[in-house]
Symmetry: C2
Subunit: 349 residues, 2 copies
């Protein structure tokens, strides 16, 4: 009874892009249709779709929408228009590198196109999506190998089908390991302020028939103290060359408390999440979103008027606090990453 | 412009008890009146009033209400009825020891009463409230001594006028140190699931004109990483003889991450919070509240149907992670607490 196949965050339909509006889940399953790159960028910015791999895939389809709109112009005008559209898509969110990775891939594809660009770009976007699912399945197998039978695992944010082309990164590992009978309990941080854990991860796991117990983010350390967690398993939005990992706010907190309790930390991300252009996590841009995400609930004020909030939506976990990074090209620990960045074989490269 | 004097969580009015309904703050300032011990116990259980010292004070007034109701019966029936009412009040919440401390004090007072018990019990309840405010002022002075000029302080939950007779424990220290010009910024965890930080602490600080910046609980470690926090200052619901401290869920998480970042941890609590009858935090009963506090928002479901939640509302921070416990009788560090429990002078006794 594996139902995750039916969850699709991003789906191309004939001549437009359908996004499952994640702002409304789990109460409403409603599609939002995009017909232009601008609409696609807005959907990414407003978190209709979120999750590093999913926004990369979405942006790729945004390029297809731009091509449909602009193909009828002259060769020169078409190129210029596409350049601007790609810039808009690229600027929609800053932290996840999968976005610019996917856009660069679409640009490379564009460069070799002669004639109607739409079929070739659409094929490339489909390939990006399909490769992501294959990568997730592969990471699921690899990561599950590391999990001992009878483990309790704790995850943060949503890293499942909704955050990817399908199946998931960290949640893919959890799905595979659960199917192998290795996991006795999945714990999920509710993940403030956007409640991806409560709203999205719980929804996905319930559909798969995998028992899930939510906890407040600040209860995670207390849960570890009870000895109930063997692995913290999370995704990533950008991994620097040295292995430092930007991920949903609270991941760093989890990694620090995991270290204190001797709980292992697994980061699961496709190689598209790795940014070899930057040497460490200090260079990763961290998005700060409106403080209304904390101060309000459904447009209603929670906090006293006059109170401010600080709402960075990602943080950086240094490689020292990560036991293993699972990618579709293999698994890497701290020592291997260091070899790589010293110019030796292996590692994140 | 010190406005905290106007905030009163618990106020006796002629023949009944008025509680400021904290479930409705900060949007509505509404009083809930209690005329019986049962109503008072319900108000404590349902978090109309919360905060260890405040529920102790409230329970003391609950005893007065019981006395008003039962005084006209025979001496024997009166005593038996009071015994049952005190049992009801005592059972309303399990973790904060201030509740049973206040009830024991009222019982001792009852034992010496001849004639109408109401005036004497009312006087004792007033004394408990007034002593709490004096203790808070004293702790404010003591704790503030430890804070260096230019400090950023982070607090969790609400420990202000709303949680006490007035002024506050941890928030009292923050108020005093801020008035002394020592604090450059107050950071407040929003404190899921009940959002005491966002709803109550921010409201109190805004009224006092003290700038406050809220953060999600899981962002606290990332805030510490930025070097912005010098002290974590929290209250307590029960302190064991060895100094282990039960407090709002997330306090343990904060203490672990503070240790990692070299940030100091101050616990502020009146001596009524110390339970010398138990040797360590392992013996403190930890209340688990309904999982609807996580799964719902204002009665509306957040999480997918079928998902469960774990909702312990307190955790225990071991004395090893606490730099200082500030009480109205003096300040104690780990080494002093250990001396005490080894039977030597000083310490928590």
């Amino acid at each position: 009874m594996i139902k995750h196949d039916s969850i699709r965050a991003v789906r191309w339909q004939d001549d437009h892009l359908d996004l499952l509006d994640q702002r409304l889940l789990p109460q409403q399953q409603k599609l939002l249709s995009c017909t232009t790159a601008q609409e696609t960028a807005d959907a990414i910015r407003n978190m209709v779709v979120r999750g590093a791999p999913a926004i990369g895939i979405t942006a790729a389809y945004g390029v297809v929408l731009a091509a449909i709109q602009h193909q009828k112009k002259s060769a020169e005008a078409w190129q210029a228009a596409m350049h601007a559209e790609i810039g808009t898509l690229s600027a929609s969110r800053p932290t996840a590198v999968n976005l610019s990775w996917a856009l660069k891939r679409m640009q490379r594809s564009m460069e070799t196109i002669t004639g109607d660009p739409v079929p070739a770009l659409l094929a490339e976007a489909h390939t990006i999506l399909e490769e992501d699912i294959v990568a997730n399945r592969r990471m699921g197998e690899l990561g599950a190998e590391l999990i001992e039978e009878g483990s309790g695992v704790l995850t943060h944010c949503n890293t499942g089908s909704l955050a990817t082309g399908g199946y998931g990164t960290a949640l893919g590992v959890i799905r595979t390991a659960y199917a192998q009978g290795k996991i006795c309990q999945v714990f999920a941080d509710e993940t403030r302020p956007w409640l991806q854990g409560a709203r999205l991860t719980a929804w996905e796991l319930v559909q798969d028939g995998i028992p899930v117990q939510l906890n407040t983010d600040s209860a995670a350390a207390w849960l570890m103290k009870q000895g109930k967690v063997q692995w913290v398993i999370v995704g990533a939005d950008r991994i620097a060359a040295n292995g430092d990992t930007a991920n949903k706010i609270g991941t760093y907190n989890l990694a620090v408390t995991a270290k204190y309790h001797g709980v292992k930390v697994m980061v699961v991300a496709p190689t598209s999440t790795i940014d070899m252009a930057i040497s460490s996590g200090e260079e990763i841009p961290i998005e700060t979103r409106p403080d209304s995400e904390l101060l309000e609930w459904n447009g209603q004020r929670i906090a006293a008027e006059g109170a401010n909030a600080w709402n960075p939506v990602f943080d950086v976990t240094p490689i020292d606090l990560i036991d293993v990074i699972v990618t579709d090209k293999g698994m890497f620990g701290k020592s291997q990453v260091q070899k790589t960045t010293n110019g030796m074989d292996g590692g994140l490269g």
